[in-house]
């Protein structure tokens, strides 16, 4: 999750930025709110969930604009990655078969999970017991297998 560069330190955005500026602003505000919400009463591992989720949504937004709708230019897309509006590593995963819906990078980094294997949220619904409700520890994902 790269941090967004402060606007003072970056070059002016390429054309088309104004089309998406407002949405990015909303994401930014949500992120600020999430970061400023006290987490005293929340289990430690859950404290980061909202931040992961907003980061995921923002990356997804940019990913879809560029790859699915072809709504933004390559120049703008690269500028957005460079300035931390989207997670290039996560997007790289989405382009791979089987990872199209991946929630976060932590969930495919085996050693960091509680189970020393791929995160439970990566298990397809079909492979779970009926009605089993899963939520992963790292980002609060409730399932992100491609087949779901």
């Amino acid at each position: 999750m790269p941090a967004i560069r402060p606007s003072s330190k970056r070059k002016a955005p390429p054309d088309g930025f104004s089309d998406i500026e407002e949405d990015l602003l909303v994401f930014g505000n949500k992120m600020k709110d999430a970061q400023n919400t006290p987490t005293d009463n929340i289990p430690k591992h859950q404290a980061q969930w909202p931040i992961f989720q907003i980061s995921h949504q923002r990356s997804r937004y940019i990913y879809e604009l560029y790859y699915e709708k072809e709504a933004i230019s390559k120049k703008l897309y690269e500028w957005l990655l460079k300035n931390g509006y989207a997670d290039a590593m996560l997007i790289a995963k989405w382009k791979k078969q089987g990872y199209e819906k991946l929630c976060c990078l932590r969930c495919v980094q085996t050693k960091e999970t509680n189970f020393n294997s791929t995160c439970i949220c990566r298990v397809p619904k079909a492979g779970l017991k009926d009605g089993q409700d899963v939520q992963c520890v790292s980002c609060g994902c409730r399932g992100c297998a491609s087949s779901d």
Binding site: S18, I20, D23
Partner: protein
């Protein structure tokens, strides 16, 4: 009257009153339309009331004009009280031939404390008491069941008045033929099985009510086997009366009032009208909730359908914008150059310095522009920057005012101005943070785009058709809204009526109880009461 085969001779036609025009629907039906009042009718305006144009059955209501005209004949509120309404926005006023008025049982309620008696509701909102043990049905509710039924009604009204949510409960599943359906207030629950087992408490019958039954002068008996058929026959008996109202157009699985295509188009019109940014996300659109109060939001009835339509719309819009931008920039190379100037030009740099500094930038080396012009505009722009803001504003206003209404009107978006404006130095003189709100305010103060006729513009056929299609959709929507509002009003009236009736019955029961108490004190009164009970019992058993 729809089935009338009376054909007037053409000579008998009177001229139409002013404003009315005659039209032929694709189905062959003639209808009349009044452009100012937007009224449409099958009945020739100005004709004597007995005159009805030919209506070859069956009527195809898939044409919205035909449907509207057809509906218009049933506008008057019904005189009789009975009947269920097709409220819920799925009035089904299109595509469906008018159903034959055959009544049939729709749902039932066990009458608490009077096993095996059940109360059966019919499709047309009538109800009757039914005793499966005796195979006996009564339109007139037997007296001994009255208190229990009254309680059912009161519980129902209490629910209706206070706790709407409870009506979401599902009805028990019965037999094999009944599908479990989620029940909303206005949804019909069909029960075809006549076996009562006492669990059903009658929820969801809020919109039904007992009515003065034409058959109330004597109990009617059914055998259990052909109860539905008998009811159907009874329904047919009341057919004439049913025809007078616009009730019960909705059957099971009524078609949605719009074609899927129309519904999607209406939803997309909504996105257009709210100037939704096609680059924005669906989540943001939902969070803002701006569009959800618009009637067009619900013409598509699932979130998925709406999201799909939105998705389609965004892709088309994005393509359109891309194409527009590309052609504009192609048309006028000044636009990118001036935009570049606005961004980079500064009085601190002389032209040669500026040119050296940015020589690699696209607008600086565009072969379509002469370097001499680039220099001239650079100087002019820097000179203009020294002018007072008020002058720059009035210059910009003059520029905007020079654009014809066809190119700049209240439908324009500030981020998509005509090239004529973008290619003018006056456009880039003000800082965008001042300029853009100024332009937005200016645009808002403008009138609508001129129509083809007034503007004298040549519209291509596709644009004209798109506009006409849109008008048509909107008329159909208005019609639906009207029908729904009407139905709602009627529902309320019914509810009030029922409340009043229940109050009356309560009072009657209270009176009866008072008489009962007095009866304990007064031998004479007690005897009278006993007498009445005996008479009632005899009447029931006969």
């Amino acid at each position: 009257m729809l089935k009338s085969t009376y054909k007037p001779s053409p000579g008998a036609l009177q001229p139409l009153p002013p404003g009315w025009t005659e039209h032929k629907a694709p189905t062959g039906h003639t209808y009349y339309y009044h452009a100012d009042t937007k009224e449409s009718t099958y009945k020739r305006p100005g004709a004597p009331p007995s005159f009805v144009p030919q209506q070859p059955p069956p009527i195809n209501l898939s044409d919205p004009n035909v449907a509207n005209a057809f509906m218009a004949q049933y506008n008057a509120p019904p005189l009789q009280q009975h009947g269920r309404g097709g409220f819920g926005g799925r009035g089904g006023f299109q595509n469906r031939p008018r159903p034959q008025p055959t009544d049939k049982p729709r749902s039932k309620v066990a009458i608490p404390g009077h096993d095996p008696w059940i109360l059966v509701y019919t499709k047309y909102g009538r109800r009757f008491a039914y005793n499966p043990a005796k195979n006996a049905s009564y339109w007139r509710i037997p007296e001994k069941l009255m208190p229990a039924i009254l309680e059912l009604d009161q519980a129902r009204i209490r629910r209706k008045a206070g706790l709407e949510d409870e009506e979401e409960e599902e009805e028990e599943e019965e037999g094999g033929g009944n599908q479990r359906r989620r029940r909303s207030e206005y949804e019909e629950v069909e029960v075809t099985d006549d076996e009562g087992d006492g669990d059903d408490d009658g929820e969801g019958h809020a919109k039904r009510q007992r009515t003065e039954e034409p058959g109330a002068d004597g109990p009617v008996e059914f055998t259990e086997a052909d109860i539905a058929a008998q009811l159907a026959a009874m329904g047919a008996d009341y057919g004439d009366e049913e025809m007078g109202s616009d009730e019960d157009w909705e059957g099971e699985g009524a078609d949605p009032p719009f074609s899927d295509e129309d519904a999607r188009a209406l939803f997309k019109d909504l996105l257009d009208d709210f100037k939704i940014n096609p680059y924005s996300s669906w989540e943001k659109l939902m969070e803002e909730g701006k569009i959800i109060d618009d009637a067009r939001y619900t013409v598509l009835n699932t979130t998925k359908a709406r999201k799909d339509a939105w998705e389609e719309w965004t892709r088309v819009k994005i393509l359109e914008r891309k194409a527009q931008r590309a052609t504009e920039e192609k048309k006028d190379p000044r636009i990118p150059y001036l935009a570049f100037l606005q961004d980079k030009a500064t009085p601190k740099l002389y032209w040669p310095e500026f040119r050296r500094k940015y020589k690699k930038e696209g607008p600086m080396k565009d072969p379509k522009l002469a370097d001499k012009d680039r220099e001239r505009w650079y100087r002019e722009h820097n000179n203009r920057l020294k002018l007072p803001q008020s002058t720059l504003k009035s210059d910009l206003k003059t520029l905007l005012a020079s654009v014809p209404a066809s190119a700049l009107n209240n439908q324009s978006t500030p981020d998509h101005l005509p090239p004529h404006v973008l290619a003018d130095l006056r456009y880039i003189s003000l800082d965008p943070s001042i300029r853009d709100p100024f332009i937005e305010a200016y645009i808002q103060g403008l009138g609508p785009p001129p129509t083809a006729e007034e503007g004298g513009l040549e519209e291509d056929a596709a644009t004209t058709k798109a506009r006409e299609d849109r008008r048509k959709r909107e008329r159909a929507l208005q019609e639906r809204e009207r029908v729904v509002a009407e139905e709602k009003r009627r529902q309320e009236k019914r509810l009030q009526f029922e409340r009043a009736r229940l109050r009356d019955e309560e009072r009657e029961l209270e009176r009866a109880m008072v008489v009962g108490k007095k009866g304990l004190q007064s031998q004479l009164a007690g005897e009278r009461l006993a007498e009445r009970m005996v008479i009632k019992k005899e009447a029931e058993d006969s």
